[in-house]
């Protein structure tokens, strides 16, 4: 654990532990992510990937360990962390009975952004044509794009993406990667939970995985490798 908080570290997490009931999901996870870095997070189902992400986003509190995001303590100063973080979760987090545009307008009001940014964001994710359709009628892939558009409004310094590629067609995958690339170029960092490496190959700087509730470095894995099988681990 760094003695002084290094603000160039997007994430400085040490010994993070979290339990549900009496079973521990995370048992001392340590991770550092630097400015501009895009890190992939692999792990079997139920290994705690999403839990770790949610702890970094301040939605959950760790039961042990420390988490610093851009120098702010996630437990003691969650509000400071929230203004820096963009979280894309499994569930879209959208309002089914509002249109795509209305969802973004609502987000813009909550974030204090100019409403004109909404159409810009919709255009960027190629949803301008569907802007006035209710979210209920949008496909899963389109809902994911809408969630990404909201991230554009958030303008995060740290991106926490939970399986962003699921349900996306090749165009969607390209979109995610180009967005991640743009954010990283601006100095933001990204932690991307993945089920398979293939879609993210072009954009990741490095990969780690979770085993037994701890972070281990994952070596280069061939595309299509099964992730719940044995993985050769270098000791670090």
């Amino acid at each position: 654990m760094s003695a002084a908080t290094d603000p160039a570290l997007a994430i400085d997490a040490s010994g993070v532990a979290r339990r549900f009931g009496t079973s521990w999901v995370l048992r001392g996870a340590t991770l550092r992510v630097h400015s501009g870095e895009v890190v992939g997070l692999l792990g079997a189902n139920g290994s705690g990937k999403s839990t770790l992400l949610r702890i970094f986003s301040t939605l959950l509190r760790p039961h042990a360990g420390t988490v610093q995001v851009w120098g702010h303590d996630a437990v003691r100063a969650p509000h400071a962390v929230r203004s820096l973080v963009g979280y894309l979760s499994h569930s879209p987090g959208l309002y089914d009975d509002l249109t795509a545009r209305e969802n973004l307008l609502f987000a813009a009001s909550m974030l204090g952004r100019d409403p004109r940014d909404v159409d810009v964001a919709l255009d960027r994710v190629d949803l301008l044509d569907a802007a006035d359709r209710r979210v209920r009628g949008l496909s899963a892939g389109m809902q994911r794009r809408l969630a990404l558009a909201r991230l554009l409004l958030v303008r995060p310094r740290l991106l926490l993406l939970d399986e962003p590629y699921s349900n996306l067609d090749p165009d969607g995958i390209l979109l995610v990667n180009s967005l991640i690339g743009e954010w990283a170029a601006e100095g933001a960092a990204a932690l991307v939970v993945l089920h398979e490496l293939a879609p993210a190959r072009g954009v990741l700087h490095r990969t780690v995985s979770i085993r037994d509730g701890r972070i281990v470095a994952a070596p280069h894995i061939h595309a299509g490798a099964r992730l719940d099988g044995p993985v050769a681990v270098s000791s670090r």
Binding site: A107, S109, M110, G112, V135
Partner: protein
């Protein structure tokens, strides 16, 4: 965050809640229909003697509004829980109080409207004469709605996220509402009966006092219940 920004956030949330409720198929109409049904059932329970109905009108109207209103309170959080929107809502920067304020506003509009409908139907069904002081009656309805909505919105923030939400919300809410309900019912009763003793004003003032106390307490406590 400045007060003006907080107000804008609250307004955005209120708009969002009211719009989603309006567009959902079951929403407002369902709740109002339920309230009227409850009135009818009470009519069967208490009547058909006209005097008995008239005596019970004030209390019955408020109870019908309460039972139907509980549904509205849980629903206002349901919309966040269905798509996982609550997480995103909590992550937006700014204080949680604006979330509470926004939901309060939306629920208040909902419940106030419902109360007006219920009172009108109640006056008809229970054969009550429209009181000359009906503007005051409207005032009482609004004050009572504030009390109902304040506590309802507060407890629903917890109940809607628990395992037994249909039971937990009434269980927590109803005993806490005793002062508000008593004051509202008594003031309404007095007004419908022509306010012979002049009690209505006293109960109305009491009701206003309760509203202030509960608004203050719930605003202060909301932060603790929306997180975690």
């Amino acid at each position: 965050m400045t007060l003006r920004q907080e107000w804008r956030r609250a307004r955005a949330i209120a708009w969002k809640d009211l719009t989603t409720e309006r567009r959902s198929k079951a929403g407002f109409n369902g709740v109002i229909t339920l309230a009227v049904t409850i009135l009818v059932l009470f009519g069967f329970a208490l009547g058909p003697d006209a005097q008995a109905l008239r005596d019970a009108a004030a209390g019955t109207v408020w109870l019908a509004a309460l039972f139907a209103g509980v549904l509205a309170f849980n629903r206002s959080y349901q919309v966040e829980l269905d798509g996982g929107a609550l997480e995103q809502l909590v992550l937006y920067p700014g204080s949680r109080r604006s979330i509470f304020a926004g939901k309060l506003l939306a629920n208040f509009a909902f419940v106030a409207l419902m109360l007006v409908v219920v009172v009108v139907v109640g006056i008809v069904l229970f054969q009550v004469r429209i009181p000359p002081a009906w503007p005051t009656l409207v005032g009482i309805l609004l004050l009572g709605a504030i009390g109902l909505v304040t506590l309802g919105t507060f407890y629903a923030a917890m109940a809607s996220r628990s395992r037994a939400r249909e039971v937990l919300l009434p269980l927590l809410l109803f005993p806490m509402l005793v002062p508000v309900l008593l004051a509202a019912m008594e003031a309404t009763k007095a007004l419908l009966g022509g306010n012979v003793m002049g009690d209505a004003g006293a109960w109305a003032r009491l009701l206003a006092g309760f509203d202030v106390i509960f608004l203050l307490a719930t605003f202060l406590a909301f932060e603790s219940v929306i997180e975690v």
